[in-house]
Amino acid sequence: MATVAPASAPSIVLGRRLPRTRPWYLEVWVQMLRRKPLGTLGAAIVGGMLFLAVFADALTPYGFAETNLRERFVSASATHWLGTDQIGRDVATRILYGARISLYVGFGAVALASVLATLLGIFSAYWGGRLDLLLQRAVDAWMAFPGLLILMSIMSLLGPSVLNITLVLGIAAGIRESRIVRGVALSIRENTYIESARAMGSGHLRVTLVHILPNVLPTIIVVATTGLSTVILTEASLSFLGLGVPPPHPTWGGMLSLAGLDHMYRAPWLAIWPATALSLAVFGFNMLGDALRDLLDPRLKGA
C-alpha cells in the first residue's frame, strides 16, 4: 500500500493557518503554553500525578497495605507526612498508590472506550441506513439509564475488581461517546474527497482508515481527555460505595468510603487528603481536556 499523507485538518482546526514547522501534535502543546494558562496548569497536575504514580515505590518507605497497629490514628508528623489510618497504614503512601490505581483504571477504561467509540461511531455513520438506525436506537436506550445506577447494578453482580471496573466503565463510556464520533464521521462522510476516493476504486476499509479515521482523530483525543475526569470520578464514586476497586488496593474513593466514616471523626485527615487528591486530579484533567478541546476541535464546545 502506498503511503498517503493523512488529510491534515488540524492546522486549520487550530484556529489560524500556521506555517507548518511542527507536526500538529507538537503544535498543540506550544499553543497550550502560549494561550491556555489553565490548560497548562492542568497538564502540569496530570504530569505530576503520572510522576507520583510511576515512582510511588521509590517515593515512600511504606507499603500501601503495610499495617502498624502501634501507630494507629497518628496525625501528620515527620515520619507520616499525612498521618496514618485506623490500622496504622500511612495515608500519604496510600494516596500515592491511589493515584496509580486511578490512572490505571482511568487510562484503561478510556483506551477501551476510545477504541469502542471509534469502531461503533465510524461503522454506524459510514454504513448508514437501517443498521445505523438500529444501532442508534440501542445507544438511545443505553443513554436513558441514569449512568451511575446501571453501573452500580452491573458492578454489584460482577463483584468489585480492578479489571471488572475498567471493563465496565470503558464499555459504558464507549457506547456513550460513539454518538459524538458518529456525528463527526457523518459530516466527514459527505465530503467530496470521500466520493472521489470511492470513485478511484478505494475499498470501504481503505476509505475509513485513510480518509475518515485521521479526520476523526482530533475529536477522539478530545473526547478521551474530557472523558478521563468522568471515568476517574465514577470509579471513585463506585469505590466509595464499595462497588469499585476492592481493598486492600488503595483508591481515593475507597479511602473516603462510606464504610470508614466512623473513623474519620477521630482522624479527619482520613477524609481531607483523599478528597483533596481527587479534586485536584479532576481539576487537572478537566482543565487539560477543556484546553485541548478548544485547540483541537472547537466544534465540541459544550459537548
Partner: protein, 315 residues
C-alpha cells in the same frame, strides 16, 4: 404541536422496550447467584432447587421476561422483592417523595446559586466578581459531591460540635423539621452541581447581551435591571433548562450516594440496599422506573422550550 407530542411519545415506546431488555439481560446473564446466598446464609428454603422453583427462576429466561413485562404493562405490577416478598411498587412509591424532595431542593439550590453567580459574572464581565465566579465554578466542577458530603458530615462535628440530624422526619409530619434535615444534603449536592450551570448561564447571557434587541432596549433608555431580568434572562435560561435535563441522570445517580451518606430513606437507599443483597427484581424494576422517568422528563423539557422561547415551533 400535538402531532409532535404524539410522535415523540410513540418513539419513546421502543426505547423503553429496549431499556427493559437491556436491564433484564444484564441481571440474568451476570454471575452472582442470590439464591445460593439466600439458602446458605439465611435458610430461606430447604434446598437451592426448591427456592429457585419458588421464586420462578427455574423457568426459561424469556418466560421470566414476559412475566415481568406482562405484569407491568397489564397490571402495573412491578414484582416483589426476593427477600421481603413485599411489592416493589408500594415500597418505591412510599420512598419516592424523599428522593423527589431531595432532587427538587438540590436543583433549586444549584439553579439559584448558578444563575445568580452566572448573571453577575456576565453583566460585570472581566471584573473581580467575574473572576471570583469563574474560579468558584471551576472549583464546584472539581470537588466530588461525595467528598464534600463526607467533609461536611465529619469536619463540623469535630470543630464546631455540629452534626447533621440522622433521624428522618417526613415532610407531612413536620415540614420545618424535615427541611432542617434535607437542607444540608441538598446544599452540598446543589453546590457541586452549580458549577456547570454558572458557566452555561454566563456564556449564554454574554451572547444574548450582544444582540440587537438588547441594544434597542438600551437605546430606549431602559434601566439595566429591566434589560437583564425582563429581556435577556428568559432567552438565556434555555440552555440552562436543557442542561438540567441532561443532568437529571446525574441527580438521580448522585441521590443514591447522598441518601446513603445522610441516611435518608429514599429510593436511592432502597436501591442501594437491594444491590448489596442482589435483589434482582428490585434492581431491575427500579432501573426501569427511573429510566422511564428520565425519558419522560426529557420529553417534558423539550416541550418546555416552546414556552420559554415562542420562536421555537414544533412540527
Amino acid at each position: 404541536m400535538r402531532p409532535y407530542v404524539l410522535r415523540r411519545l410513540a418513539l419513546a415506546v421502543p426505547t423503553l422496550g429496549l431499556v427493559s431488555v437491556i436491564v433484564f439481560s444484564i441481571m440474568r446473564l451476570m454471575p452472582g447467584d442470590v439464591v445460593i446466598r439466600m439458602v446458605e446464609g439465611h435458610a430461606y428454603a430447604p434446598t437451592i432447587d426448591a427456592l429457585r422453583r419458588e421464586l420462578g427462576l427455574d423457568r426459561p429466561a424469556w418466560v421470566q421476561y414476559a412475566d415481568w413485562i406482562g405484569g407491568i404493562v397489564l397490571r402495573g405490577d412491578f414484582g416483589t422483592s426476593f427477600w421481603t416478598r413485599q411489592p416493589i411498587w408500594d415500597e418505591f412509591i412510599q420512598r419516592f417523595p424523599v428522593t423527589l424532595e431531595l432532587a427538587a431542593l438540590t436543583i433549586l439550590a444549584s439553579v439559584v446559586i448558578g444563575v445568580l453567580v452566572g448573571i453577575v459574572s456576565a453583566i460585570r464581565q472581566d471584573s473581580a466578581a467575574d473572576y471570583l465566579g469563574r474560579v468558584l465554578a471551576i472549583l464546584a466542577l472539581s470537588v466530588p459531591y461525595f467528598g464534600l458530603a463526607v467533609l461536611v458530615v465529619v469536619l463540623p462535628s469535630i470543630y464546631f460540635k455540629w452534626t447533621p440530624i440522622w433521624t428522618y422526619v417526613p415532610l407531612s409530619t413536620s415540614p420545618l423539621e424535615n427541611l432542617k434535615i434535607m437542607l444540608v444534603p441538598a446544599l452540598v449536592f446543589g453546590v457541586t452541581r452549580a458549577g456547570p450551570i454558572m458557566r452555561i448561564m454566563r456564556s449564554a447571557l454574554l451572547d444574548i447581551l450582544r444582540q440587537d434587541y438588547i441594544r434597542t432596549a438600551w437605546s430606549k433608555g431602559l434601566p439595566e435591571r429591566a434589560i437583564v431580568l425582563r429581556h435577556a434572562l428568559k432567552n438565556a435560561l434555555i440552555p440552562v433548562v436543557s442542561l438540567i435535563g441532561l443532568q437529571t441522570p446525574l441527580y438521580i445517580g448522585g441521590s443514591v450516594i447522598i441518601e446513603a451518606i445522610f441516611r435518608l430513606p429514599g429510593v436511592g437507599l432502597f436501591f442501594f440496599e437491594a444491590l448489596t443483597r442482589l435483589d434482582y427484581p428490585v434492581v431491575q424494576s427500579v432501573n426501569l422506573i427511573i429510566a422511564t422517568m428520565v425519558v419522560g422528563l426529557n420529553l417534558a423539557i423539550d416541550l418546555s422550550y416552546a414556552f420559554l422561547d415562542p420562536r421555537i415551533r414544533y412540527r
